[in-house]
């Protein structure tokens, strides 16, 4: 069971997830403190009030805008999981590459504070009693996830090329 700690509207851009003014910070170990830095949730993250595995509910087209990978690495740093009806292309690819868990769930309904469980291809909202179908990620992306991210996947390919 995990709690919804933030609910967002449609078309949340990478400028909301990771504002451009922090773009000089690039390393995945250093980006999490700027996650959603213009929203109150940032203080709760930094205060350690939000456990790993907590859930962000977003609207359609989450992560639109810039290709900045910090937008994925800052959320990965807190081990947040994002549930949305859909994600912008570059953000989704960055998330897959870094191992940030994205859940595509077109019908999702949940509010801040709701308790959710993700199991058997469904999101189960224990607060409102409903279940919502998860749409699987495209097969191609699953290969990267199974390898543990794009860095280990590329390493495998590189080593197999050397043989």
């Amino acid at each position: 069971m995990a709690k919804v700690i933030l609910k967002l509207e449609d078309d949340i851009s990478t400028d909301i997830i990771y504002p451009g003014r922090y773009m000089a910070t690039v390393l995945p170990g250093e980006t999490p403190r700027y996650a959603f830095s213009d929203l109150p949730v940032n203080h709760r993250l930094q205060a350690g009030e939000i456990p790993a595995g907590s859930i962000v509910i977003a609207g359609k087209n989450f992560g639109c805008g810039s290709s900045r990978e910090q937008a994925a690495s800052c959320l990965k740093g807190w081990e947040l999981r994002i549930i949305a009806p859909g994600f912008a292309r570059i953000f989704m690819q960055n998330a897959v590459n870094l191992g940030l868990e994205l859940i595509i769930c077109p019908e999702i309904e949940a509010d801040e504070g709701d308790e959710l469980k993700i199991a058997g291809g469904k999101v189960i909202n224990h607060t409102n009693g409903n279940r919502y179908e998860i749409r699987p990620l495209p097969q191609a992306r699953q290969r990267i996830i199974d390898a543990g991210g794009l860095i280990p996947y590329t390493r495998q390919l590189l080593l197999s090329k050397q043989k």
């Binding site: 078309d11 990978e69 912008a88 990267i144 860095i151």
Partner: protein, 429 residues
């Protein structure tokens, strides 16, 4: 079944005769571009090699280009240190197409690539910048990727797990009115189909209006394809493409002009007629919040920016200068101008465009991204309204979430600078 341009490019780059939408391919890369975020790419590149016993070596230094543009000259010690790291890496790996902070080679990546002839029709171009879509203007399949994905490209020379995208055919007819341009067209299109109207798809531009459009305007169109969610924008290469590559970019070699098959299959067709199109404005805080200028006229503006990878080219600056020549920027307005490259800057000096702009009260800054992404130069005060020829107006985009950004063409920006409120350029001259 016939193929679209992007299907043809991907089939060729993947060594396949036929390809279908939804197929997963791993095309070879012809050009891999990064800017300051190469610092992160380098970090991830070294992580790939960790524990392998292999020497980290890029697959082909001639196919990699790095341009400093986002924060030039550096705004902080952190950026300066990142730039130093990238400089040293480029030198060590033998990356020749490295554009440092210099008046003889610098500029915004999306202008440096076309003007130096790095992009060819039919090429696969990837860049760690979402506006890499720009280079579809020269008939390449060009799209944005993240830093880790670029590190993988540097190691393998291929981009992994590309799903062949569907294509939306955009057919544009009619002649632009005076003071209406490619920027107004792309804003109108994004307003019509929405910020995710082309998600995971390609926008392929056709029609008499596109055929008559110079490369600078095509670059503007494809640049903003990503604002409709598109993976790429593309213009079928034609005589204009050849003239640009030969005369402007100095490309000598034979060019193959790949077009779509007559029976190519499209997801859908969108038709626009520009004959009756007036200037367009994207209101805060969404690029698809587009309205005709009549809805915006009279809104007071405190800062105006002309430039960026969307509209910082010579004809953009010249269009603004024609309106501003002999007039003054209104008191209370700061007009910042960023030429897209030093080549453009130099020409604008030679033809007195810069003189006219500065005489009118503009502040001409060094080529680069400037305040567009809110990291450097030209910050906005709380509650201020900015008008910009850039490509994004998301909340906080220019560095201050308490400010608002409106998007427009260079002509609207110039006319508005004169009056201090958003103004229709058709009424100012």
């Amino acid at each position: 079944m016939g193929m679209t341009i992007v299907e043809k490019i991907l089939a060729h780059a993947s060594g396949q005769a036929q390809i279908r939408v939804g197929d997963v391919v791993e095309p070879r890369v012809d050009l891999a571009m990064s800017h300051e975020n190469a610092a992160l790419v380098i970090n991830q590149f070294h992580a790939i090699y960790k524990g392998t016993g292999l020497e980290p070596k890029v697959w082909d230094a001639e196919k990699i280009t790095i341009i400093f543009d986002h924060r030039v000259p550096a705004e902080s010690a952190k950026t300066a240190t990142n730039q130093k790291l990238v400089r040293e890496f480029a030198s060590k790996q033998g990356i020749q197409r490295f554009h440092d902070i210099r008046g003889d080679e610098g500029g915004i990546c999306h202008q440096i690539l076309p003007e130096n002839g790095y992009v060819r029709p039919g090429a696969v171009v990837v860049g760690t910048d979402s506006h890499t879509t720009t280079h579809g203007a020269l008939g390449s399949f060009a799209f944005g990727i993240g830093a880790t994905e670029m590190a993988s490209v540097w190691a393998l020379g291929r981009v992994l797990n590309v799903e062949v995208p569907g294509t939306i055919k955009v057919v544009v007819s009619g002649r632009f009115q005076s003071h209406v341009s490619a920027k107004d067209l792309i804003l109108a299109l994004i307003g019509q189909i929405g910020a995710e109207g082309a998600n995971y798809k390609v926008l392929e531009f056709h029609g008499e209006t596109i055929a008559a459009l110079p490369t600078s305007g095509r670059l503007t169109l494809c640049n903003m394809a990503v604002e409709a969610g598109a993976t790429a924008g593309i213009v079928p290469p034609d005589g204009e493409t050849v003239v640009y590559l030969r005369q402007e970019a100095g490309v000598q070699e034979e060019l193959e002009l790949l077009g779509p098959d007559a029976d190519a299959e499209y997801d859908r067709v969108v038709s626009l007629d520009v004959a009756s199109l007036g200037p367009q404005i994207a209101f805060p805080h969404a690029v698809d919040n587009v309205h005709p200028i009549e809805m915006a006229e009279g809104i007071p503006i405190q800062q105006i920016m002309i430039g960026s990878c969307t509209n910082g080219r010579l004809d953009d600056l010249a269009a603004a200068a024609r309106i501003l020549k002999g007039k003054q920027v209104a008191r209370g307005v700061r007009l910042l101008v960023f030429p897209a490259s030093y080549r453009i800057y130099t020409r604008a000096l030679e033809n007195r465009t810069i003189f006219d702009l500065v005489s009118a009260g503009a502040v001409v800054m060094n080529p680069g991204c400037g305040p567009c992404l809110g990291v450097h130069q030209g910050a906005l005060a709380d509650g201020e309204k900015a008008l910009a020829t850039t490509n994004r107006n998301f909340k906080g985009r220019m560095g201050n979430p308490s400010a608002e950004v409106y998007l427009c063409s260079p002509e609207v920006a110039a006319a508005s600078a004169v009056r201090g409120v958003i103004s229709d350029p058709r009424k100012v001259e």
